[in-house]
């Protein structure tokens, strides 16, 4: 699984011997993989394969589910994020996340983006304004909302709400952005916009996206990770994996024989 094109690129996240359980049920089985810096990594696989659980383990948001247990390591900045002394707040600031369903907070557009800044203690109003503007620009939403920043965020369209959620995640200046099926609740045009945005964002951020949409993964990702029944079956550069998968299971999935 080691391959030569990858070795020259810098990894940002290393997942080692990682297992995950819900109660007695093992959801993730001995996952070993690397994520490359400033690349788009797509985790694919049939529903129930554990891809979302894996994604939610990377910023430990799954800790909020009471009977979720893990073993193994996820190394970020030279440190296992499951170590006892890890500051969850700081970890989640560095590894942002956007969910399947756009969930604007019950406040104005501006306050949504500024929320993370406020809780992380950025008090200077001028600085906040600047970051909010930049985040909205990066999320390709600025031009649409710049005159109505005080409007309740709920009044935006679904696609705009999702870009607002991306802007909100970007505002706290993460290094990695986790996207959990970010377009599955959106129409094709909004989906197109988000996809363009994701490709654009990878210049500055590392993106990990979970998607059930194989075409989308093929279109936008640099690396692809195929999971099946809790195991990581195969991973590698997307172009190579799509053309010549090494495992039969991967081939079957890519050909639509399993779904």
């Amino acid at each position: 699984m080691f391959n030569l094109t990858a070795i020259r690129e810098q990894t940002i996240l290393n997942i080692r011997d990682f297992d995950g359980w819900y109660g007695q049920k093992q959801i993730l089985k001995n996952i070993n993989m690397d994520i490359y810096k400033n690349k788009i990594s797509a985790i694919i696989g049939p529903s129930g394969c554990g891809k979302t659980t894996l994604l939610r383990s990377i910023n430990r948001i799954n800790d909020e589910i009471s009977d979720y247990k893990t073993s193994g390591e996820i190394i970020f900045e030279g440190k296992n994020i499951y170590d006892k002394d890890v500051d969850l707040t700081l970890l989640r600031k560095k590894i942002g996340m956007v969910f399947q369903k756009p969930v604007p907070f019950p406040m104005s557009i501006y306050d949504n983006v500024a929320f993370g800044l406020k809780i992380h203690g950025i008090k200077d109003k001028r600085k906040r304004d600047e970051i909010v503007k930049l985040a909205l620009k990066r999320a390709a939403l600025w031009d649409e909302v710049k005159d109505e920043l005080d409007k309740p965020a709920r009044e935006l369209s679904g696609g705009q709400q999702q870009r607002l959620c991306i802007a909100r995640a970007l505002a706290v200046d993460p290094e990695i952005l986790l996207l959990d099926e970010p377009t599955s609740a959106l129409d094709p045009i909004a989906t197109q916009k988000i996809e363009n945005l994701i490709e654009h964002l990878s210049e500055e951020y590392t993106i990990i996206i979970v998607t059930h949409n194989l075409a989308q993964a093929t279109r936008i990702s640099d690396y692809m990770y195929f999971m099946y029944q809790g195991e990581l079956i195969e991973w590698g550069p997307t172009r190579i994996m799509v053309r010549s998968p090494k495992k039969q299971l991967t081939e079957d999935y890519l050909n639509g024989k399993i779904s």
């Binding site: 948001i61 909020e64 989640r92 969910f99 399947q100 907070f105 929320f115 995640a169």
Partner: protein, 279 residues
């Protein structure tokens, strides 16, 4: 085929008639109570003391008493109910302590109001020495309101999408930051609705106040929270039960006023709930 249509025809006809009649009875009751009392309304009725064995004057002190009581009750029960609801929804009915608190709050919701009255009498009036007073009455009614507000707050928070919590956590927010800055504002309408319904119910509550806080008739206003007070519902009760036909007008007028008050509170609450659904 034909026979089956007949079953539905007959049943729906009977059930519809019964439902309509019930509806009419309710509307009629509300109408009679309001209309038969409104005709006694005049400015002095809302300000003056009752005079001449309740045959003249007004209900000024009872209005004031009810207002003081309801303000105190809300002051106590909003934080209590809100935080209990937050606990039940966010910290959980899964732990042992959580289960006990859950069962406690549910049990409180079923306790008869007169038993609260006895409890308030024994605890606040006698043991703590507050006597028959505004404070005893308000504390008693606060406990009654706790389950109403707590369970609605819990439902309001539980109905919020999981992603809302997780989005806040994913930005690095702490749990209580998420609760106070995101969840409670997001459930605001439903929480206010719950508080209004709790207030509407408690403002008409009579039995516990009879035992803990009410005075039959007073010629002076309460000076401190340890004084007893006249309230609208106890006033209605005393007039109806203890005075003759000459005083009945005051019972009617007070009932009318109290009912209007409660209905206005309820209508605001329902309006809020409707807006919530439309969003």
């Amino acid at each position: 085929m034909k026979k089956k249509i007949n079953v539905d025809f007959i049943v729906s006809l009977i059930f519809r008639i019964i439902s309509y009649m019930t509806f009419l009875v309710v509307v009629l009751i509300i109408f009679i109570v309001i209309a038969d009392g409104v005709r006694y309304f005049k400015p002095s009725f809302f300000i003056e003391y009752p005079k001449k064995a309740m045959t003249q004057g007004g209900i000024g002190p009872a209005i004031l008493g009810s207002l003081i009581m309801i303000s105190l009750i809300l002051l106590f029960s909003i934080p209590l109910g809100l935080l209990t609801g937050v606990f039940l929804s966010e910290y959980g009915s899964k732990s042992f302590i959580g289960k006990i608190i859950d069962i406690s709050v549910t049990s409180l919701s079923g306790v008869p109001s007169i038993v609260y009255g006895l409890f308030g009498l024994a605890l606040f009036s006698i043991t703590l020495g507050f006597g028959t007073s505004i404070l005893s009455g308000s504390l008693t009614l606060t406990i009654m309101t706790l389950p109403v507000i707590a369970s609605s707050v819990r439902e309001a928070l539980a109905a919020l999408p999981r992603e809302l919590r997780e989005s806040a956590y994913a930005l690095g927010a702490k749990k209580t930051e998420t609760i106070f800055k995101i969840l409670i504002p997001a459930g605001k309408n439903r929480i206010i609705t719950a508080i209004l319904i709790g207030a509407g119910r408690v403002i008409g509550e009579t039995a516990p106040v009879l035992l803990t806080g009410a005075v039959f008739y007073s010629t002076k206003l309460p000076k401190s929270l340890l004084d007893p007070v006249m309230t609208l519902p106890t006033h209605i009760y005393f007039i109806t039960m203890s005075y003759g036909a000459d005083a009945q007008w005051m019972a009617k007028a007070t009932s009318s006023f109290l009912l209007i008050l409660v209905l206005v509170i309820y209508l605001i609450a329902f309006q809020l709930r409707k807006e919530e659904k439309n969003v």
